[in-house]
């Protein structure tokens, strides 16, 4: 049976289901059992159900504990490690990149490395430069890692189950602004394959390739563009590595135009990768120069007064498409966009502190 769940509930359900199915799955992270809010609700009650051996808090030792997860994976466990902010995982980059990513390859395929690391991308409410960085490109740059960014609750559950069952290190990136969105989620076990993109909305005029929360902004943009008769196809990449290049190229070959939308920095990032891919493989069939909508190459500011000029929104995506079609740019007022909620929170119900 399928019912509507929130994104965080989908993560919880996937974890619960995998722990029930496989005794080698265990969950660890700083505050994982201790946080009264259950890491945004994603792990609530799991320690009571599975015990403190399988749902455990950890020392404030991100690199060391990533090594512990790796070592336990080598002897048959399937650890899930949780970082409430992606920035904390940076303390563990040595173990993630040097060790987890390379292990299977450098030992000639002798070992599997079934490890999931959940990392949360913050945004808004003044979280500033060390609590709201989007570092997907950094992790996705590394061969040996898999990097997924679910957007829908359906994919949040299916991709997490796939990640837990995968015999490789998977970086599972959750955007804080997605935790409370609703969507249909089937009960029981299912997986969403890692490495497969999804057409979130079909269209013929332009392909918008988007990641994570920016898929939602892109869908809003597509609705607004449709009012002017412009049919945008929105591709939700879901996995940055492996990247479903065939899906992206297939869409671009159909539409002849591509706009890459990534909630991350512009230079040397995922949007740049999409443009390079399209330029290499579809040059000559494009009807317009590829474009990208990204963060500026700046640290994210804390104050809402500056943050509202830092994060690209629906209007920027609309104008990215209009530019490619040779149309004049429009304002939010002209589009009739009214911000009922302040721009530094994900929804009306949000009152901080996260």
């Amino acid at each position: 049976m399928t019912r509507d769940l929130r994104f965080f509930q989908a993560i919880h359900e996937a974890t619960d289901l995998c722990m029930a199915r496989d005794p080698s799955v265990y969950l660890m992270g700083l505050h994982v059992p201790a946080d009264p809010k259950g890491i945004f609700g994603t792990v609530s009650g799991l320690q009571q159900k599975y015990g403190s051996d399988r749902v455990m808090d950890m020392p404030t030792s991100e690199n060391g504990m990533t090594g512990v997860a790796i070592g336990s994976a080598l002897v048959g466990m399937r650890p899930i490690m949780v970082h409430q902010r992606i920035e904390f995982a940076l303390l563990a980059v040595e173990q993630i990149i040097n060790q987890a990513a390379n292990w299977h390859y450098m030992f000639g395929g002798k070992d599997a490395m079934p490890l999931v690391i959940r990392m949360m991308i913050g945004r808004g409410w003044g979280q500033g430069p060390q609590h709201s960085q989007s570092l997907q490109a950094m992790f996705a740059h590394v061969p040996g890692l898999k990097v997924v960014m679910p957007v829908t609750p359906y994919d949040a559950k299916g991709l997490l189950i796939a990640a837990i069952e995968d015999n490789n290190p998977v970086i599972y990136l959750e955007h804080r602004w997605l935790h409370n969105i609703f969507g249909p989620v089937p009960e029981g076990h299912y997986t969403v394959p890692i490495g497969k993109a999804r057409t979130a909305r079909p269209g013929r005029d332009v392909t918008i390739v988007a990641t994570s929360y920016m898929v939602l902004e892109s869908l809003r943009a597509a609705d607004l563009l449709a009012r002017d008769g412009i049919e945008a196809e929105v591709v939700d990449v879901r996995s940055l590595r492996p990247l479903d290049t065939a899906h992206i190229l297939g869409s671009v070959q159909k539409t002849g135009r591509v706009l890459a939308v990534d909630g991350a920095w512009r230079s040397l990032g995922f949007a740049a990768e999409v443009l390079a891919l399209v330029a290499e493989r579809t040059y000559g069939t494009l009807k317009a120069a590829p474009q990208r909508v990204t963060f500026p190459d700046l640290p994210s500011p804390s104050t809402p007064a500056l943050a509202q000029h830092f994060y690209p929104r629906t209007v920027h995506i609309v104008n990215g498409v209009r530019t490619m079609l040779g149309l004049q740019e429009v304002t939010e007022a002209q589009l009739g966009i009214q911000h009922e909620t302040p721009l530094d929170v994900p929804d009306k119900a949000f009152t901080g502190p996260f």
């Binding site: 504990m65 070592g71 080598l74 299977h104």
Partner: protein
């Protein structure tokens, strides 16, 4: 120590010494195209530790891993194949000297980033505990690794969870060319610092294989009995350069005199002398063993040199586990 074991320790050390000297001899041929970090002079730690373990016990190592690998029972042909970059190597040529592995004897891996296998070894011990297995995990590390944050993170967790792990610190006084006295206060011993974490922490003579064996045996039995981790520091000395086959006393970071003092304490010669003195072996026994070893090593080198290189298709293989 009984005669059989003492003789066995000697032969194991001699085998490693002979392999390492052979590598040093062949390295200038330019056919082993990977960095090598030789353990000549440090054999007693590897052999004393691994002889105290069961085959199913786990071990993790560092860039200087040849002795640990061989002492744990790793396959000599697979090791040399790996050094020569051949498909018969233990990593099919993808690892080289610094990434030895042999799961069949519990040698779960070696890496050259200082300190990085320490938490991984602790994690393996944690995994065995969760899986209710009675294995001991040994983590080999150098004195330099005790300066890495991850060492302290890992020891803290091992004590917190009373893990069946033994940390074996081979203190050879040098991190590449930087001596211990520029890296750590001279008034402090490593094992005394570590004791502050709340685990038993002991120091032994790293050039005395029987002493190493005794301390490790006790620590491993304690770990197997569920009584938690132990830290063992063994002072020993690297005879040759940090990386490569040569002697490097002329470059100025250590004195010839210091080197000669340590060489006089050669762990292999020391045990040989003891065996002869105690009448546990006769000179002709030793001569016979040395000849057998030479044959074995020549055969392994020939095997490695005759082995094919990996097919280019292997470049793309093993990116992900199935």
């Amino acid at each position: 120590m009984d005669a059989g074991l003492a003789r066995d320790l000697y032969f194991r050390m001699l085998r490693i010494r002979t392999v390492e000297e052979k590598i040093a001899e062949l390295y200038p041929e330019q056919q082993m195209r990977c960095p090598v970090h030789l353990s000549v002079g440090q054999e007693a730690v590897a052999v004393g530790v691994c002889a105290a373990l069961a085959s199913e016990d786990y071990a993790f190592s560092t860039h200087r891993s040849h002795a640990h690998y061989l002492a744990k029972g790793g396959n000599l042909k697979a090791m040399l194949g790996e050094l020569y970059g051949r498909v018969t190597g233990c990593c099919q040529g993808k690892g080289g000297s610094m990434h030895l592995v042999d799961r069949s004897v519990g040698f779960l891996g070696a890496v050259p980033i200082v300190g990085s296998t320490i938490p991984i070894g602790v994690g393996a011990a944690f995994g065995t505990l969760l899986r209710k297995e009675r294995r001991v995990t040994i983590v080999f590390l150098g004195d330099g690794a005790t300066e890495e944050g991850v060492f302290h993170e890992a020891v803290n967790f091992a004590v917190l969870k009373r893990l069946p792990v033994v940390f074996v610190c081979e203190n050879n006084f040098f991190s590449v060319y930087s001596s211990l006295d520029v890296r750590q206060p001279s008034t402090r011993e490593i094992y005394e610092l570590v004791r502050g974490y709340g685990l038993e922490s002991l120091q032994g003579d790293g050039n005395d294989v029987e002493a190493v064996y005794g301390l490790t045996k006790a620590a491993a039995e304690k770990a197997r009995a569920g009584r938690g981790p132990t830290f063992l520091e063994f002072k020993t000395y690297r005879w040759r350069e940090h990386c490569g086959p040569h002697y490097d006393n002329h470059v100025g970071y250590r004195s010839e005199q210091e080197f000669e003092e340590w060489k006089a304490r050669c762990p292999v010669a020391r045990l040989k002398q003891r065996l002869l003195q105690r009448g546990l072996v006769a000179q002709q026994d030793l001569d016979g063993v040395e000849a057998t070893l030479t044959d074995e090593i020549e055969a392994a080198v020939a095997f490695a040199k005759a082995s094919p290189f990996p097919d280019p298709q292997l470049l793309g293989a093993h990116l992900y586990a199935p």
